[in-house]
């Protein structure tokens, strides 16, 4: 560490010492706490025009909170954000954008189902002269911005196709799209290669010339010294220093961040190792990491270094049985093993302390005891029954050893601090008496005190003869805590250092791409690294390209089949043809005009309500009550016409639609403001609306002769040979396809379904939009009810009973995702047609109509299985995290 500082203290800062740049924005005496923890305490700093302020601090020091305060994500409890001398009350990120504050978030809230271009412009869309979304314009601008940051991808493809480092570049480009006065960068280089970082810094230099005020949050001292003019250091939520970068050598910075001499927080490591406990040879997982080989002895601490996305966690996951290797071997002790699941790994003596506490280590709502005993719960049972005393006995000793501070064993773990939570995680794993423990970023987001305790525990465990793999992004931790350090870069081992030769700079260089020349490095030259600017390991690992991109060696049939399975609309067209052609051969009535007319009319009726369902589904909700709404609206309108034969047909239509609208609003209100899950609400209203229908009908039915002829003609009228109702459906298709593509409202629905929290964060009115979706769905269903009543003449309270199954089937077959965020109107149309053609086809070849149910069921299952397989294949191909 000593040589490091001298390289960077003589950084030339052009005129920064002489002239003072204009203060643009910053924080003034800001305090922010979260549920009892003080995140930021009375912090003030400025961001100046044409200058980069680096914000340094340990994990948990408050850097992220400062970023989010400036970004408008959080509002200060005390103090304020200011801009150009005036206090600013930023209620939301959109407000921050409007004031010219752009933010590159560390964990970007992006929308996987939307295109890259849309993601970039989601908070400030470009419109054309008609006020509609200008997709081609945004695409063009996006392409330019992406080129500027070195990402050469098609901006119209969905974001989900990109990997981590590419997403980070999109986040950067997104911030640049705002044309900001203030730019906040929160760990923008975490997943980037050396070349990409250089690109970013070039962009920053350009912004410097444009007098943009910038803040740069990072762990990487090397980068800080390259890019920053001034440095601010946070510790435990307080600002401890703000100085020009020349006055902040590395040692001083680290000392300020940590608060005490470095030697104090790292325990002494012993040097006695036992036998080999873990041997990995040639471990490969295609597209992720390749040819990983290392050994681990009992009592040894082996560090894994590397950038995010270099493969460390991925290797750990394979070791722990979560993922599977494509080749290579793992030996625990003497035996070769291949784990099919974490349960197997655990039984073999492995433990994995994940970096993702919330997502992988602890069930937040559950208590300390329940979490702690989970891996070994069967040990707490006697004849199959859990005994509380035994359970306590399993968990208590380790919790006490780790000095956990808690109120009771039932206390939910989400009430504990980060450090205490990590202690629960540790005790959970210690209880399994492992031989090897893999720690993945064990001290991330933890206060300094607990960090020291965790380090002491790790050293102690090693002393007891447990083999330890320590995955970490904190260079001091790696240098001080490990007997050996393996450095990974883009899925390969790029270097290995013994304790006596390791240093932070060496690790950094090996991790970011300047060749260290050690074993495992396949392509040591810069040019090869450069050629993978969009970084896929594809050049070495086979089968990376999508078949469509491969040269014409692929047969036409193969390519065609590939498209059929990946493009839903085409696949359905093929399916429809596959049914129609043989059936027409057997029974030419299939293609007779009367049959096609009937088919189109049924199709229209199904399509309109399927659109309703789609609107709700894309927002990640569901509406099980649509069929009941159809029934209710049908009966009410037919009833009205029976009692008032002079009633205008249009009014009857309006009445039905109004009934549907009210039903939809009820659904929507309970879902949005009542916060009851949609499946539950619509399950209830399905029964409710059907019940109301039944009560109104009183067991009676309305027959064709009781309603005006004009009503019945409504749906049977033809225009130019095409049934009016089909033209109506086509109209609905055009209107909604248009709205979903060219209106903000439409795109917002997809955003909400793709990432509801992200949508809320950028200021999309989620509640109103979802309410609107339900209301619209209700309206369409009501309208459809009127058409139904007109078409099927005889109406009773059982109209459309069970129809919700057909509707959801049509939508699912049409490619709308149940989890929300994606789907097309055209797909839905084809889904409807497919189901009806199948029904029609079966009828015409004299298959018993009772078989239809089974066929529908099969079609649904086939459709979703294909979806799953296609999705899985796409993830496998060309995705390296």
């Amino acid at each position: 560490m000593s040589g490091f500082a001298s390289n960077f203290t003589s950084q030339p800062n052009d005129g920064t010492d002489a002239e003072v740049h204009e203060i643009i924005a910053g924080l003034r005496s800001v305090t922010k706490s979260f549920g009892g923890t003080l995140a930021v305490d009375d912090v003030s700093f400025d961001l100046r025009a044409g200058e980069v302020l680096a914000l340094l601090g340990e994990n948990g020091a408050g850097k992220s909170t400062c970023v989010k305060l400036l970004a408008g994500v959080y509002q200060p409890d005390q103090g304020h954000v200011f801009l150009e001398g005036r206090p600013l009350d930023l209620r939301s990120p959109v407000a921050a954008h409007h004031h010219g504050i752009a933010v590159m978030h560390q964990h970007p809230g992006l929308f996987d189902d939307l295109s890259i271009a849309e993601n970039m412009f989601i908070t400030h869309v470009r419109r054309d002269n008609w006020g509609l979304l200008d997709h081609s314009g945004m695409s063009r601008e996006a392409r330019n911005l992406l080129e500027a940051v070195g990402l050469l991808v098609d901006p119209d493809q969905p974001l989900s196709r990109l990997r981590t480092s590419e997403r980070q570049l999109v986040e950067i480009a997104k911030a640049l799209a705002v044309d900001a006065r203030v730019l906040i960068m929160d760990e923008p280089t975490a997943a980037l290669s050396r070349r990409e970082v250089d690109r970013l810094f070039k962009v920053v230099d350009g912004l410097r010339e444009r007098q943009v005020a910038m803040m740069f949050v990072s762990h990487r001292m090397e980068e800080i010294y390259r890019i920053a003019d001034r440095v601010a250091v946070l510790r435990d939520g307080k600002l401890v220093a703000v100085t020009p970068v020349s006055e902040m050598p590395h040692d001083r910075a680290v000392q300020l961040m940590v608060g005490r001499p470095l030697s104090d927080i790292y325990p002494a490591l012993h040097a006695k190792f036992g036998d080999m406990v873990l041997r990995v040879q040639g471990l490969t997982r295609s597209g992720v990491f390749e040819n990983i080989s290392f050994t681990l002895k009992r009592g040894e601490i082996l560090g894994f270094a590397g950038l995010v996305g270099s493969g460390r966690t991925e290797i750990a996951r394979v070791l722990f049985g979560v993922d599977h290797a494509t080749s290579g071997s793992i030996h625990i002790g003497e035996q070769q093993t291949s784990f099919r699941s974490p349960a197997d790994a655990m039984n073999a003596g492995l433990a994995y302390v994940s970096e993702d506490r919330i997502g992988q280590s602890l069930i937040m709502d559950f208590g300390i005891l329940t979490n702690g005993s989970l891996p070994i719960i069967h040990q707490a049972t006697e004849f199959g029954i859990i005994r509380s005393r035994r359970e306590l006995g399993l968990v208590k000793p380790d919790l006490e050893r780790l000095r956990l501070r808690f109120r009771s064993f039932e206390q939910p773990v989400n009430t504990l601090s980060g450090g205490n939570q990590q202690k629960v995680v540790l005790s959970k794993w210690l209880a399994t008496t492992p031989r090897v423990i893999i720690f993945d970023e064990p001290t991330q987001g933890i206060d300094v005190q607990t960090k020291a305790e965790v380090h002491a525990v790790i050293a102690d465990l090693a002393r007891q003869g447990i083999g330890i793999i320590l995955i970490s992004s904190e260079l001091p931790e790696l240098v001080s805590m490990c007997h050996r350090v393996l450095v990974l870069r883009e899925g390969l081992i790029s270097a290995e250092f013994e304790r006596n030769e390791v240093s932070q700079e060496k690790i950094m260089y090996a991790a970011t791409g300047i060749a260290a020349g050690q074993h495992g490095l396949r392509f040591g030259s810069e040019s090869a690294a450069e050629s993978s600017v969009s970084g896929r390991v594809c050049q070495q690992v086979a089968s990376c390209d999508e078949p469509a991109a491969a040269p014409s060696r692929q047969s036409i049939a193969r390519v065609f089949l590939h498209h059929v399975f990946t493009r839903r609309e085409l696949g359905l067209l093929v399916a429809i043809a596959a049914v129609m052609i043989p059936v027409s051969a057997m029974n030419p009535r299939m293609v007779s005009s009367s049959n096609l007319v009937a088919l189109s009319m049924d199709g229209a009726l199904l399509f309109i309500v399927a659109v309703a369902q789609m609107l709700v589904l894309i927002t990640r909700n569901i509406d099980l009550s649509v069929a009941s709404v159809i029934g209710l609206a049908a009966y009410v309108s037919a009833d009205a016409l029976r009692d008032y034969p002079g009633l205008n047909i249009a009014l009857a239509l309006a009445l039905a639609s109004a009934v549907g609208l009210v039903c939809g609003l009820v659904n929507g209100l309970v879902v949005t403001f009542g916060r009851v899950p949609a499946i539950v609400v619509t399950l209830g209203t399905l029964a409710l609306y059907r019940g109301l229908d039944s009560l109104i009908a009183h067991g009676k039915q309305i027959s064709a002769d009781q309603v005006p002829a004009a009503w019945l003609d409504l749906t049977s009228r033809s225009f130019f040979g095409l049934p009016g109702v089909a033209i109506l459906a086509a109209g609905v298709l055009l209107v909604f396809a248009f709205a979903l593509r060219y209106l903000s409202v439409g795109r917002e629905l997809f955003a909400i379904g793709s990432n509801p929290d992200g949508a809320r964060l950028i200021g999309i009115k989620v509640q109103t939009r979802v309410l609107g979706a339900f209301a619209c769905a209700g309206l369409l269903a009501g309208f459809d009810g009127a058409l139904w009543a007109s078409r099927y003449a005889t109406i009773d309270a059982r109209v459309a009973s069970g129809f919700e199954l057909t509707v959801i089937a049509a939508v699912v077959v049409g490619g709308v995702a149940i989890r929300g965020g994606s789907g097309t109107i055209v797909g839905v149309a084809f889904g409807c047609l497919t189901l009806l053609v199948i029904r029609n086809g079966l009828t015409l070849v004299r298959v018993d109509p009772l078989w239809l149910q089974a066929v529908y069921g099969l079609v649904i299952l086939i459709a979703i299985t294909i979806d799953a397989l296609v999705g899985a294949r796409r993830r496998l191909v060309g995705r390296k995290r």
Binding site: S388, G674, L805, W851, L861
Partner: protein, 344 residues
């Protein structure tokens, strides 16, 4: 720990029990013929199958899955039973085959969900249609009405001199088993863990896929059992038996306090919900309100009860945050005093 568990159970279950008591009281007084042994036992008998279906459904929903095909498996089981009986297969053998078929149906659900990682909502929507469809293919619109005496006696008689119908007995025997499994065994703990956070469960060594698969198989098995009971009680086997049952079952489970997000709730609440829904349907039936019309009450009950519970939860949260902010403010004023004293 027992106390804590009991206290948590008391919350929502207590609320439902109170409503049930209220409804019971009202009905005894205001609805003629309600409080007779005959009526009560008929009401209970009418829910025999739904009661059985509740048990695995609750477990599935706690584990963040759902099974919409329960009624279809029931119907299919009924059909298979009828066909086997008509083919003069002895009753015990027929029952075994039916139970096996149900387990297989559940296994198909389980396979599609665990092997292909498909959402259970859509899978069981498909199998809901598929299984009933197979039932239609096998039996058409006909029915089998000639059933062995042993079966029909089981379907009609009471246990000894009591008013407990024999059809309720399977449920009464299975219910404590399920309660025990859920609350007191490692399996139950793992089911809650999967529902609480499937990722964490996986990383903690829970064999998530295996457990999910067997939950679906159990569901299929229970549905087949319910199918046998249904056939016995109604004395016929048809492909369109139990249409719409799944909705009632899911409603009762959700009403019983089991969260649709998984990881929360217990069977005691579900039993109270069962009693409540059965009572309401019975009362409405006695008051000449048809099956669909009863849906108004059930639907309202479901929606309003969850709305209520949410509002109460929101209120509690607000109170808790306000209290926290107050303590924080007090704490800060202490430190600022200290700072002032030190002359910062």
């Amino acid at each position: 720990m027992m106390k804590r568990v009991l206290r948590r159970m008391a919350g929502w279950s207590g609320f439902l029990a109170a409503i049930f008591a209220g409804v019971l009281l009202y009905a005894t007084v205001a609805v003629p013929h309600f409080a007779t042994a005959f009526n009560l036992s008929q009401a209970a008998a009418g829910f025999s199958e739904k009661a059985i279906l509740l048990l695995p459904m609750a477990l599935l929903i706690i584990a963040r899955e759902i099974d919409l095909s329960v009624a279809s498996i029931l119907a299919l089981a009924s059909v298979i039973l009828g066909i086997l009986i008509r083919a003069n297969v002895p009753l015990p053998a027929a029952i075994l085959v039916v139970l096996f078929a149900g387990a297989m149906a559940g296994a198909l659900n389980g396979l599609l969900v665990t092997r292909f990682n498909l959402p259970s909502l859509v899978v069981t929507l498909g199998t809901m249609a598929l299984f009933r469809g197979i039932g239609y293919i096998l039996l058409g619109t006909g029915s089998v009405n000639e059933l062995p005496d042993a079966l029909t006696d089981f379907g009609i008689n009471m246990v000894g001199a009591t008013a407990i119908p024999w059809t309720m007995v399977p449920f009464l025997l299975l219910a404590p088993v399920f309660v025990m499994i859920l609350q007191w065994t490692a399996w139950g703990r793992k089911i809650y863990a999967i529902g609480g956070n499937p990722s964490v469960a996986l990383y903690s060594g829970v064999r998530v896929r295996r457990l999910r698969f067997w939950l679906f198989v159990t569901s299929g098995l229970m549905c087949a059992l319910a199918g046998i009971v249904f056939t016995a009680r109604l004395s016929n086997a048809r492909a369109d038996n139990a249409l719409g049952f799944e909705l009632d079952v899911i409603t009762m489970v959700l009403l019983g306090g089991i969260s649709v997000f998984g990881g929360r709730g217990n069977l005691i609440g579900v039993f109270w919900a069962l009693a409540l829904v059965a009572a309401i349907r019975n009362i409405l039936g006695l008051s000449q309100v048809g099956g669909d019309g009863q849906g108004v009450a059930i639907g309202l009950l479901l929606v309003l009860s969850l709305l209520l519970s949410n509002s109460v939860q929101n209120l509690l949260d607000k109170v808790r945050t306000r209290r926290l902010v107050k303590t924080m403010a007090l704490r800060r004023s202490d430190t600022t005093d200290l700072r002032g004293a030190r002359g910062n």
